[in-house]
Symmetry: C2
Subunit: 368 residues, 2 copies
């Protein structure tokens, strides 16, 4: 059976269990939801209806694209359904003759006023909740299946080859942040990737103290004395990698110590990468190690990657404990930042396996 | 008075009028809101509180960036407020000792479950509505002031110079879609822009029949016989341009006719560009002209541009009539598409003036 149909079937069996007649998912500007791509293969704006009996109806904005990319029981133009979520929902429940009082679950990110408008005076019971069916689909996406891992490995291979080219470039001579960022984009596209997974960050010494430099890259020269950060991902068939390197040159002792501490953090984290470890335990151990060394990390330790750049599991020290499981793919990206000394971040992607982990990318501190 | 303070004051006077004690705006992943940049200058993730007495409190994710960029009565790290919108709101209303029953307006895009959690059992009256204060700020943003026009003109100047370079490149020889896209990004950044306003689309003949080609650009060769589309924007200090050119070579008569009709549409539209014209009237006239010529446009005629790539006014034929006003800046971007013949789109940016319009960009059909 087609992977997408299998996934759709898994979701429709959840509907039965939760006594929901219809699940509506929506991917639109301001409310992106990669679960539609996960379930149908359609990569852009659309509304997806999943019925408890296993049928699916996809309403794509771009019907030509959907006809090439999407798997669903039926695919019809969004244009025929009024081009708004509420009109589409109203028309579909009518066409389907859903019994009065049926439970219809809407996207959990639906704005409050839109939910109120949609449900006002309706004969159906509309549900919009955290931890509902959309969240359950996100939980499924957290454990990568064989197809997903195969796609991710293509993204990782391109990522590693780009990392080597970056190293070669900065060892050879001077260029700009923009040169590096465009090298990444060009190599990714020409290798068949859809593009970068997010806006590349290339921050030379003067700007590397920012977690997310703004603007993301400029005409500033690289490499420079001190600490420079490059953070990028490659998106292949929807799935993105996410790595960061720090390029160092002529460090002073305090900068050198920052680098060593970050390399130390990676060892602390890797020791805990196995099924059963809690994300809070992992992140807590890293924060303790940093604290002992006199540093504080101003962001979380890492996050899941897949069809979205920030997805479950989230590696947070104090909230949302999740047990690591075989098949989870996420970043480990310790970083410390100082307005005077600059920033260091080292980020790689990891897969949890039966009895430990596999390191999926080969980013490293590049010492000039 | 600082432009940002002036804008904040305008909003706080709306609070008084609407009997709202506190307006909360939020800019975060999945819920972007450029109104915070409009009101404070802060360009990224944050929560903004505006009080009826004119004070403002900004809680940025990146405090270093805010200290350089933002104007607000107080600026404090989001970290000190629990890093979630609901914790931040709860803490601020407590610190402020807002009287029980005070009306607090939340972002209109707030997800339903989050609104319910936030307001459950609260002593305050939380409001979340379409057409409320956030929408009123969007209405303000629709009319560009002198500062905004000056910034936009910088984006337009870079855009025009890039358009000339594109023409030079495609007249000189063959390259790839990716070469063109990266040329745009490089030239924009090196000219001091923050980057492109959105992901550039470069679709050679084989892919130009898509409104939004997917992926946005690839290794496909350009120029090619037939119709190729390039759609890009330049973002300068937050404000973006948005233009499209079609590159033509060795057209057959049907393709030539598509190009001529699109050039004709521009004249039809320009005649109506003046204060008082309804957006529906403008879009309707264009659609009538296309229909008379046997074409259908599968998207809207245009949209406002500014701190966001798609903002008010929206030029739609059948819904949301808005009267054009002096100071509005928007795109006019007629397009027709055919899976066999390819696509043609021509897009420029316009300002409505006292008695007509000013064409702000110089995109054109590039005939090879």
């Amino acid at each position: 059976m087609n992977t997408y149909l299998k996934r759709q079937k898994n979701v429709s069996s959840l509907l039965a269990r939760e006594d929901i007649s219809l699940l509506v998912l929506c991917d639109r500007e301001g409310m992106r939801n990669p679960s539609i791509r996960y379930l149908t293969g359609h990569p852009s704006d659309s509304v997806l209806f999943i019925f408890a009996d296993g049928r699916t109806l996809l309403l794509p904005w771009d019907i030509n694209l959907a006809q090439i990319k999407a798997t669903a029981t039926e695919i019809k133009p969004y244009n025929d359904y009024g081009r708004t979520l509420s009109q589409a929902v109203a028309k579909v429940v009518e066409e389907e003759k859903l019994p009065v009082g049926s439970r219809v679950e809407l996207p959990s990110e639906l704005p409050y006023p839109e939910f109120m408008r949609l449900s006002a005076g309706s004969a159906y019971q509309f549900i919009c909740r955290d931890g509902g069916l959309s969240a359950m689909v996100e939980d499924m996406r957290q454990i990568k299946d064989t197809d997903e891992l195969a796609t991710l490995r293509k993204a990782f291979a391109i990522t590693d080859s780009i990392m080597d080219k970056i190293e070669e470039t900065v060892r050879t001579g001077q260029c700009t942040e923009t040169d590096i960022a465009l090298l990444i984009d060009r190599e990714a596209r020409l290798a068949g990737a859809e593009g970068t997974g997010f806006e590349t960050l290339a921050a030379s010494m003067g700007r590397s103290y920012n977690i997310h430099a703004f603007p993301a890259y400029t005409g500033a020269l690289m490499p420079a004395d001190g600490l420079s950060i490059i953070d990028f991902g490659v998106k292949y068939d929807g799935y993105t990698s996410d790595v960061t390197t720090t390029i160092t040159r002529n460090l002073n002792p305090e900068q050198e110590r920052m680098v060593q501490v970050i390399e130390g953090v990676v060892h602390v984290a890797e020791k805990l990468l196995k099924p059963g470890t809690l994300t809070t335990e992992l992140s807590g151990a890293v924060n303790d190690y940093l604290e002992k060394n006199g540093y504080v990390m101003p962001h979380n330790l890492g996050h899941g990657i897949g069809l979205y750049i920030h997805e479950k599991p989230f590696l947070r020290a104090k909230v949302d404990p999740v047990k690591l499981e075989n098949g989870m793919v996420f970043t480990i990206e310790p970083g410390v930042y100082d307005p005077e000394l600059g920033g260091v971040r080292l980020e790689n992607d990891y897969l949890i396996t039966d009895n430990g982990y596999e390191k999926l990318t080969n980013s490293r501190i590049i010492r000039l």
